[in-house]
Structures are given as C-alpha cells and as structure tokens.
C-alpha cells in the first residue's frame, strides 16, 4: 500500500514536471567518510554551535563558534551586550594553536569565518552586524559596519519561514519624518534594500573576487548583497526582499567563482542565484533544496557545494549537494541527524580541497571533516 502511494505520488510529480523528475531521480549518492573529532581543544575550551569553519593556504583551520555566555548587563542605561562567540585556530592536524580576537567588541553571535587568498581571516557576526578582517597574525585590519550600541529587549517576535524555520524579524524601519505637504518619494528604497554604505542588518557571509573586491551577504535583516573595493570603500549593493530574480528572502551564504560570478544562497526562496560582478542576475539553481551554506572549490574546474537544511532542527531533512557551475548536480551525500555522516544545520562549508571538506554544524556543536571517496 505504501509503495502504491509512493508510485501514485511519483506519477503526480511526473505529470507536473517530467524534466525535473528525471533530474531528481538521477542524483547519485556520493560515498564519503567522516572524522567528527578532528579538532582537539584544551580542557577548558569548548565549542558551541559551529557557525563558521575555514582553512588558510597552510591548512590551518579557523573556527568561529557560538560559545561562552552571551550576556547583557543590568544596571546600565541601556542593554549593553557582551561576549558569546570566539574564534579559534588549529593546525591542519586539528591541534589547538590559539584564540584570535578574544574579548574584542564585535564577537557576539558567530555567523561565518572565511579566509581570503592572502590568508587574512574574516569573520561575520550576525548580532554585532559586523564583518571583521584579521590579518594572518590575528590583528584587526578592517571593520565593516558598526555594532549597535544597545541590544533590543525584549526580543523581536519570531516569524516562520516558508520552510518552517523560525527567524527573528528585522527591526521595523523607523517611519520617515513627516514633511508637510510632501508626497512619498517616488524612489523610496525597497524593503530589505538596506542603506547605502555599511549598515548591515544581521549579515551572514563574505567573499572576494580575484581583484580583492569584497562582497557581503546581508542577510537576515536586509535582503541584499553589498560590494566594496579592497580598501573597504562602498561600491554598490543590489537586491531587496521578495521572490523575483534578484530579490532575496534571507541571503544566507555567498561565494565567487574564478570568473567573478557571485553565487548567493537564497535560503528562504530555496534557490541559489548567480550574478555577474555588477550584480546583474544571470541564472538560478532551484534543485538544491534550502541552501544554508555554500562553497566553491578552487582549481581549473570549479564545483559548488551547497548544504541543504530542510527542517529547523537538523533532524529530518538534510544533505550536501555537489553541483557544477552550470547548476548540474554531480551528486549528494549525507542526511539529517546527530551521528557521524549526519548533518545538524550545516552553517559552513570549507572546500579548499575538492574532496576534503570541513563542515560546521549549529545544532550538533560539531565540525566534521568529510572525505569524499573516488567514484566507483
């Protein structure tokens, strides 16, 4: 009976889209192994949610994790926030090397870490709304955006996404100051387009092109991608909240290929959008589930890895897709859960090596090193 139902359902899907079905059925399962215990911590240091993981050219591993106790202070004029996330460095074998940026002002809720071609380490913090660039020695080199002076208390209401994942609403924009007799501006900014410059609203990720230009995915509160010169000077931004091409509903990850095309994980719209370096929409991939993290491999033939998280707890629907840059799926691997080779809300993928990935998981407080086996 169950089988019959499945056949019927399948027939329905065929009727709906034969082409999509054939693509779906042909997705091969890629074989892989996991080392869930690569990173070795000192006795008194624990990782929490593994928001970001990345490697540099030497194979050193950087982990930006939500750990410790994020707190606001009472007895002050406003709810001043402190702590909650830490950035750690390990060598390629997983041995702990050091902490970077301990006690700095902007490390509240880790969202991502990425390493640029010059081995600078960039972190993205969702709550401080900042992107912070550390050089290879661990010193601050550049700051994008500014931490809000005070935390909003009580909490903003949670709104479920179409996927069921509850998200925090963006703070409602302040109403414009009324001007007597003035009609609404014809060119009022679109919702989610954000302010020109650096005022991020819960940003999620950062990437660079070959020229060193900086792209920031921004994010939960805004719905845009912002582009900066290598010096940090603002160039432009694109996108607003919505479902049309070029619009976003939580742009949750970003990566740039060797040609300078920009790939954005549009989580709420369950697609990856591809833009040229000027933000012109080129194409979209609708076959990668709910993308929560992505990564592009280096080398002459580049691939895109996309983490799919289909439920809010990482216990029912998850996988990682390997996709070529035209959007053709090479294969997928993994499933939701807490065991090795299972994924609990993958928030970060490092794919400096095409067949040796590092993934950071939120709900499992874990980094797994995944080794893809050669195809049989």
């Amino acid at each position: 009976m169950k089988k019959l139902l499945r056949v019927c359902a399948t027939a329905g899907v065929i009727a709906a889209s034969a082409a999509a079905l054939s693509a779906q059925l042909s997705v091969p399962e890629l074989l892989f192994d996991s080392n869930p215990d690569l990173l070795k911590f000192p006795a008194d240091i624990h990782m929490g949610e593994a928001a970001g993981v990345a490697t540099n050219s030497q194979g050193d591993i950087f982990l930006y994790t939500r750990t410790g106790n994020p707190h606001i202070v009472i007895g002050t004029s406003r709810a001043v926030s402190h702590g909650g996330s830490r950035l750690f460095q390990f060598d390629r074998t997983g041995k702990f090397v050091r902490e970077i940026g301990g006690g700095t002002y902007g490390m509240l809720q880790a969202q991502q870490v990425r390493v640029d071609p010059q081995d600078n380490v960039w972190i993205v913090d969702q709550m401080s709304t900042q992107v912070i660039k550390f050089d290879a020695n661990g010193r601050v080199q550049m700051i994008l955006s500014r931490k809000p002076e005070a935390m909003r208390v009580p909490a903003l209401p949670l709104t479920p996404l179409p996927t069921g994942i509850p998200i925090v609403q963006a703070a409602p924009p302040a109403p414009p100051a009324p001007t007597a007799g003035a009609a609404p501006a014809a060119n009022a900014p679109l919702p989610g387009a954000g302010a020109e410059g650096e005022s991020f609203q819960r940003p999620t990720d950062v990437a660079w092109d070959a020229g060193g230009n900086i792209y920031v995915a921004d994010g939960y509160g805004n719905a845009r991608i912002a582009k900066y010169e290598p010096s940090g000077k603002y160039i432009k931004s694109w996108g607003s909240r919505g479902t049309a091409p070029g619009q976003f509903n939580i742009v949750h990850g970003i990566a740039v290929d060797a040609q300078g095309n920009v790939y954005a994980a549009d989580e709420g719209n369950r697609r990856v959008q591809v833009f040229d370096a000027n933000g012109t929409f080129k194409k979209q991939f609708l076959n990668v589930g709910t993308p929560t993290a992505l990564c592009i491999t280096p080398g002459p033939r580049q691939f895109l890895y996309v983490a799919h998280s289909g439920d809010p707890d990482g216990m029912e629907d998850a996988a990682i897709y390997k996709v070529d840059l035209d959007g053709k799926i090479v294969g997928k691997f993994g499933r939701a859960g807490k065991l090795p080779k299972e994924f609990g809300l993958v928030n970060s993928i490092d794919c400096r090596s095409e067949n040796e990935l590092l993934i950071g998981e939120l709900s499992n407080w874990r980094v797994q090193k995944l080794t893809l086996r050669a195809a049989r």
């Binding site: 624990h46 410790g68 709810a79 709550m127 208390v153 216990m315 859960g337 939120l362 709900s363």
Partner: protein, 351 residues
Amino acid sequence: MRRGARVVAVVLLVVACCAWGAGRLSAQSKAKAENVPLISFTSVPNFFKLPPDLYFGEGIGIATNSKGHVFVYTRSGDTRLFEFDEKGNYLKEWGVGLYGLEFAHGVRVDREDNVWVVDEGTNMVIKFNPDGRVAMVLGRRPEPVAGAFDSTMPAAPAEKYRFGRPTDVTWDAQGNIFVSDGYVNSRVVKYDKNGRFVKSVGIRGSQPSQLNTPHSITSDEQGNIYVGDRGNARVQVFDNDLTLRAIYDNVGNPWAVCVSPGPHQYLFVSNSNPDSNPAASWAITGEIYKMELDGTIVGKFGKAGKGLGEFSTVHAIDCRNANELYVVEISAWRAQKILLNPQQPPQSVAR
C-alpha cells in the same frame, strides 16, 4: 518620620510576603500518607571540600558515577558543574564557558558514566562523555540575536526537538533518553540513543497523563518511567512507551525522584519544603519518602530546616547506593551526604 516610613515599608513587605507565600504554599501540600515509619539517618558533616575560591550556590543537581565521584550542578555566581571524589575532595570543574550552561536544573550520570546536564536557561540537555567533552546536545539555545525571551507560559504546541525550560533526564537499558520538559512545556519526551524523537506524552493539566511542572524523572530496570509531577502533587509512572501505569498521590509534591539500582529497587521521593520557606510550610513539608516501586511506602526521613540533617528545599537526590544518598538543596546553598540506618527497627510516629 523616617522611622514611620520604615515601619510602613516593613508592613508592606510582610503583607506582600504573606500574600505571595500563601500563594506558593497552596502549591505545596501535606502528604496524605499517615503513620509512616521513620527511618533513622545521619548527615555526614563537611563532606564536600571546596577550594577556598569556589562556592556552592543554590544546590540544583547532584549525581554519582560508577566510581562514586559526585557531580554537583549549582547556581553559583554563574551556573557551574563541579566534580568531587568519593571522599568529597574537589577534583575539577566541567564545561567551563560552555554555551549550554546558563541556569542549572539537573545533572544525572548514565550507565556508561556519561554526565548529562539539563539547563533551563538555555533549554538544552547536554551529554558529556566521561572525559568531560561534549558528546551530544539536545534542544537548542535561543539565538542571542533574538534578545531576551519571555519564558512564562507557553503558547505554541511543544516541538519535537525544542524544550521549554526542561527539568531532568533519565534513560532505559537500551539507552533511550527521556526528558521531563518542563516549566513551559508540560510533557515527557522520549528520544532514541542517537537523539532521534520517538514520542512524547503530556499536556498541561491535572488529568491522568497530564502534567503540571514535571520536575524530576527517573527510571527502573524494566524501563518504567517515574515522573515527579510536582504541581499535581503526584508521581506518575509510565511504561517504556509512555503509557500511564500508576499514580502515587500520597507523598506530597515531588520535587525530586530517584530509583536505586540493584535487584531490589526503591523509589525515593522528596516532598520538599517550598523555596523561601513560607510560614507554616515547615510543619507539613521537607521529608523524603522511601518506597517500593509499586508505591508501598517503606518509611520516611528528614524534615524542613536549615541545620545539618535537615532539608532546605531538596532539589535532587542521588541514590546509586540506597543507603548512602546525596541531596542538594536550593535554599541552603549546599549538598549533603545522608546515611540511612535501615538496621534500626523503624518507629512509628503520630503526627
């Protein structure tokens, strides 16, 4: 004038306390059981030896591992987890700076000596392996970016993998995990040993299988689950599939429950005196019951109070050894080692 103001303030304070205390007291009840034999016991003085710079705060969770080491989960300046050896010597602190430790509610040790903490501040259940590293987490701390949550009564139906101020955890012989959840949710949730949801029972209420602050949970060798349904003044016993088997409603409001191991298992239940000790509460609360698993009362011991061998809001009991118990107390900021003397003939008391 100044004195007058102070008197008024004191009067107001007394009125407020009485009103509040009366409200609290109504949630606490005298046990229905009568003519219960008294079990004699002693409390080991100064058993726990803390370094000079460490202090217990509110005693919230206590548990022993197979070596007899004692884990105390306490609301100190921060919530902290301490390990002592079997003689009460301080060994080390666990989970320093952990993302999941914020407001202690329970600690338990499973059959493989993994140490589990239940934290009602972060809504998480965290499994440490015996080396003190995190092996698994259940539930998810609300993201800090969301700000401070109102954690009063719930609205939404409970979700499979999210807790609402969970209270305690236990396991069966197969490693299935049972979480009492809690102050905001009102249910018991069963997960398999890999953390995958199996089923749950309970909504807020006073009917059989409903719960009103399931505050403590334990299990026997057959995999039956004993839930301290504190607000309903009863222990509810469920089978392994969470079907109700029995209700024991004669031992007051169960703050803490524990089942001893071995061929003859006993159930211990604490009818703890309410925190903040409302007037007259000491007369009717504070004792711990020793019961057969079928609910037959063997005896009771202890009474409310602040002295050695008295109990000041017992919040958890460890009974790995049925004659050598450990208790932690909220209001006294302490833990005690209790030696029961079963060889002495029980004496009955009239109350």
